[in-house]
Symmetry: C2
Subunit: 332 residues, 2 copies
DNA sequence: GTGAAAGCGCTAACAC
DNA sequence: GTGTTAGCGCTTTCAC
């Protein structure tokens, strides 16, 4: 049915080995042969079957990136960095969506054990540290953007704690002293680090931590609405609210505007991530920028290095952030 | 190095054929054998090498989705529909990002000729109709969300023309008569259809088409700013502006708000796509909803049917839309 | 119900 | 510089 390397060899009057050599440039091939082979490939419309090649080489040169979802995030930049870097090392990057679902993530990761892909990087894993470690013993894997507690696999994230510290410090520098935090109830490591950064910044500035100023809920927009109502109902509501993600921050702003209250109109809001929407929103959202491209680049470089070395370096790399000032952060 | 089906067979005291049969359920295997095989698989931590299986079967059960980028769009819903449906037919969905770049798209599509994936669906192709047709002759491919002129491969999109008509009609129903259109200069088929829908709606309502009311530019946000300035500078500026995408619409709104003018504050704006951001923006963006999940579901069903049948049905399927009313569309 | 053996398409010794 | 051949891990006839 399909045209194989054998057909090319026959037509060019050489052995399959010579065709293979020519295709892979492993050894020099006489120009005469090369010419005939090229012609035959052209005439036959041959293209190599990687299933054969991969089986023989037992590698596919494909890296799998697993993301929870493809929407509303800075992941596109991360993926661009990953793809760009992978290509430099002659790897293709393919993406699987886990929908933040344990079983789906497992199914995608089985591509590692099934040898469909050579390596994987997970952005926001649902697996436990132990599960990741045991997988990491056998295959090159890495975490990006979100660490997992107890996992000693290569991990690359932004420096969440200090980034959050910087954001809160920026708020304080604007004269705010009553500062709220919107975080998530789920034990998300990055959110926990950001909360610590928030607490540290208050302490450093001699502001007493007020537990009433910390709201924990779900990830979504509705929850942000609830958060706003909650803060607005306090006797001494915060004059600025920091959120552990831009999506949450946008939700708070929308709730504030929709409320039509003076409190809402004066409130400062700060996000985290600098998703594309942050600059587009009205008002523009002050936030912490994650170095998306560099996150992706760094994790792929480490991953490929690990793949080629016996001794894996399962470092935890924290990348620098940048605070982005926009209209949603006002002077007190 | 790695544990293979042979090891399992040896340990279980059966032939590799029996192990294979058990793994694939092709024939019944005696319970005694089954028990021993299961045990050996467990003990050895065996998992099948799909490279061998795929080579033998010459199929991989992987469908490749090619998207231009992973940000700010309704693609996530489309991908969810695709993944969900693919899984039902025992296919995995993997995603490649083309960055709207011809060469990158080509490289990804070479996974088809290299037998790395069984089929592909392209969301926003940079290839010509002829190129797609010749590829489509040899492999199951499909287009989703965006058609390509001259391509007679399976294509699934929303009914752009009528959807746009409906959006403009909704604007007219609010009493507007001076209605602008922001579209793109590039010859994007869906944008052209949407423009036709706009023109038809005006005609149907006996509104004279005014070429000054049609602004063509780039895709991005900056361009939307330019569009707003342009319209604002007209002697008789439009009271409502329809855009061929939500991103453009959001840009226009942002420009309108930022302008601080009375014109800006009264202007109605309508988008297209209903990206997640549309409902989140302030004001909420009136727009046309694309049936993301269904688009994805439909294209995968057609693709798999084509893969299994000799006679391919390269239909062009147009799915129904829904107009979503939100605050950005006001009474005139 | 099971085993032996061929072979999917390719690469990599090995010999010349 | 080139051909012969073994074999990557698996499925699937074909016997029994």
């Amino acid at each position: 049915m399909s045209v194989t390397i054998k057909d090319v060899a026959k037509m060019a009057g050489v052995s399959v080995a010579t065709v293979s050599r020519m295709l892979n440039g492993t050894t020099t091939v006489s120009t005469a042969a090369a010419e005939k082979i090229k012609q035959s490939i052209e005439d036959l419309g041959y293209s190599p079957n990687f299933l054969g090649r991969n089986l023989r080489r037992s590698e596919t040169n494909i890296i799998l990136a697993i993301i929870p979802a493809a929407e509303q995030s800075f992941y596109n930049e991360v993926l661009r960095g990953m793809q760009n870097t992978a290509l430099k090392y002659n790897y293709d990057l393919l993406i699987g969506i886990s929908n933040a679902n344990y079983d789906t993530e497992k199914r995608l990761l089985s591509m590692l054990t099934n040898r469909v892909v050579d390596a994987a990087v997970i952005l926001g894993s649902k697996l436990t540290g132990d599960e990741l470690n045991s997988l990491g013993d056998r295959f090159p894997i890495a975490l990006c953007c979100e660490r997992v507690d107890g996992a000693s696999v290569l991990t690359v994230t932004v420096d969440d704690e200090n980034a959050s510290f910087a954001a809160v410090q920026a708020v304080i520098n604007k004269g705010h002293r009553r500062i709220g935090l919107v975080t998530v109830k789920a034990p998300v490591p990055s959110a926990l680090s950001r909360k610590i950064g928030y607490i540290n910044a208050l302490e450093r500035n001699n502001i007493l931590l007020n537990e009433d100023y910390i709201f924990s809920g779900g990830y979504d927009y509705d929850n942000a609405q609830t958060a706003f109502s909650y803060f607005a109902s306090l006797k001494e509501p915060p004059t600025a609210i920091c959120c552990v993600s831009d999506m949450l921050a946008v939700g708070v702003i929308k709730a504030a505007i929709t409320s039509g209250t003076e409190y809402g109109s004066k409130l400062s809001v700060v996000g985290f991530d600098n998703i594309p929407l942050a600059g587009l929103y009205t008002p523009g959202l002050a936030t912490v920028e994650q170095p998306g491209f560099t996150l992706g680049k760094t994790v792929i470089e480490g991953l490929i290095k690990n793949k080629n070395n016996d001794r894996k370096e399962n470092n935890y790399i924290k990348l620098p952030y940048k605070f982005i000032e926009r209209e949603s952060l006002k002077d007190f």
